[in-house]
Symmetry: C2
Subunit: 346 residues, 2 copies
Amino acid sequence: MRADRLDAFIATHLPNIFYLTGFSGSSGIVLVAQNSAILFTDPRYTVQAKQEVTAAQVKIVRGSLLKAVGEQVEQRQGSRVGFEAAHLTVLQRAALGKSTGARIRWISWDGKVEGLRAIKDESELATMREAARIACASWEETLPLVKPGVCEIDLAAEIEFRMRRKGADGPAFDTIIASGERGAWPHARASRKLVKKNELVVFDLGAILRGYSSDLTRTVCVGRASSEKRRWYAAVLEAQQAARQALRPGVTAEQVDAAARGVLKQAGLEQRFIHSTGHGLGLEVHESPRLGRGEQSVLRAGTVVTLEPGVYIEGTGGIRIEDDALVTSTGAEFLTHANRELIEIG
Amino acid sequence: MRADRLDAFIATHLPNIFYLTGFSGSSGIVLVAQNSAILFTDPRYTVQAKQEVTAAQVKIVRGSLLKAVGEQVEQRQGSRVGFEAAHLTVLQRAALGKSTGARIRWISWDGKVEGLRAIKDESELATMREAARIACASWEETLPLVKPGVCEIDLAAEIEFRMRRKGADGPAFDTIIASGERGAWPHARASRKLVKKNELVVFDLGAILRGYSSDLTRTVCVGRASSEKRRWYAAVLEAQQAARQALRPGVTAEQVDAAARGVLKQAGLEQRFIHSTGHGLGLEVHESPRLGRGEQSVLRAGTVVTLEPGVYIEGTGGIRIEDDALVTSTGAEFLTHANRELIEIG
């Protein structure tokens, strides 16, 4: 803030608010000044804020939080106030402008808290390791239920139930179970479709634990895999290993992506790989850095990313293998430890 | 659009995109012009968009969707283009501005799709009735598990598992199980706390079915309720009944709120009722109208709202009763039919 000559900064993005103050409610704004921080929230959160927030003062507001923040800013010394342009709507920005006089200059100041969040400390990593363990164990326990005739949605229910029972606050996102040709949709949620013999089944699941997410994808074959499917699977696994090898402090996000993409290109599958290789993971399931083409950001030790190459064949299905990896001081380390080899069921 | 002399309109809010096109992916923008509609999405959704979208053309974009939309707008006749100021960030708005020349005039045009969404047709109502039934049945089946020593998170897991098994796409929000003094947090998620004898337990849960949400709250007492708790419960139930009586086409949102609030005031509990009486329900768990003080919007037949008065006593707990109600041509009708009387367990 000093470098950008800001007198104050307001955070409106909930994961950033949680990171700065510990507050986990769904309505809040944090005003940070040189020697103070104030969390504004509404009366539903009076008790919760009192219990969760230690490093900030709490103000309970009836009515518009933005208006209350604006009035507070107006009363203070200093006129340059940063806000999160990526996390404030045009309408909210207009309300903020109206709540203060012309003296206040609102400065778009993005990605600063995200930059702090990108480096996880030991306590955060302990939570993320446990969230990863919960996802892996829940998937492994559900595997015996995978057989012809089982419904995708029932498999999702089993996985989410087990994550909860193992202590997760809940699933980190809608669990994806995509069997057969639905596997060609990288983001297919579990549906009422029944799993059939000779289909590939993609499982993409994650647990939230004390705010932190895990994200795991495995693909299994119901019955014996054809030689073509085996070839695809081997290429995806090799692409993931290449990304894992490339991952270390000092490389750019696009270099990690290029490592995976290069393997799939060699295998003639480049056109089948229709998304980026991975993304940052932490208080959000998708946070920076994105491991994709053109991403120049340099990776640092303490960052957790997913590595999730995949191939998608319309009419047939998809294969994706995803693990969570921590950038260490010398290289990288997986947080997820479920079996990565092709599993053929029955 | 004609009334506001718009040549085109872009929708960026996902529930609005689903409503307009049927597309359920997590990345998309819809460009609507007089006689055409185009959905822009990324390659992950090629197959899904082809299957889900019938009323719009689909464009698959590698890279920025906003840039692609801007370029498309730039090529067309007409210069006045509406956007959703409540659903576009300041950063996205800047990117949009850069993607077109100065000829295009971007007009803040909010709440129009939401206005259409507020009136549910028969097919939407059939889905919402089923989502409501799933929530009620899942809660009723979980009730026998409520006893001293059970963990809040395990109750949440049971409820969510049952919702899934009954065909829900998933929970509509993190299930709230708030026992004892945690009940004084209106938005407490299920925690690792164990339920104890003589505690009130608040259950707030909902199912998503084909995009539509239900939202149900019930409060039970573990053991016999004290006369004070009975009095609180009776007041909350009476407040809900008053809101239900007030609900009909032509009333304002604040009149419904005032009906519930008046009952709690009579009971000396007005200060304990720290939120509004309810909110619109549909493709979002919270949509307009909000049934709160100062809300002048007039309710119309076909709108579904929650009615959820509550009282919160710090250190003791909370009581909330929430049902989903449809505004009919003559009055209102509950969609949720779970028992509303005080249940004392054991």
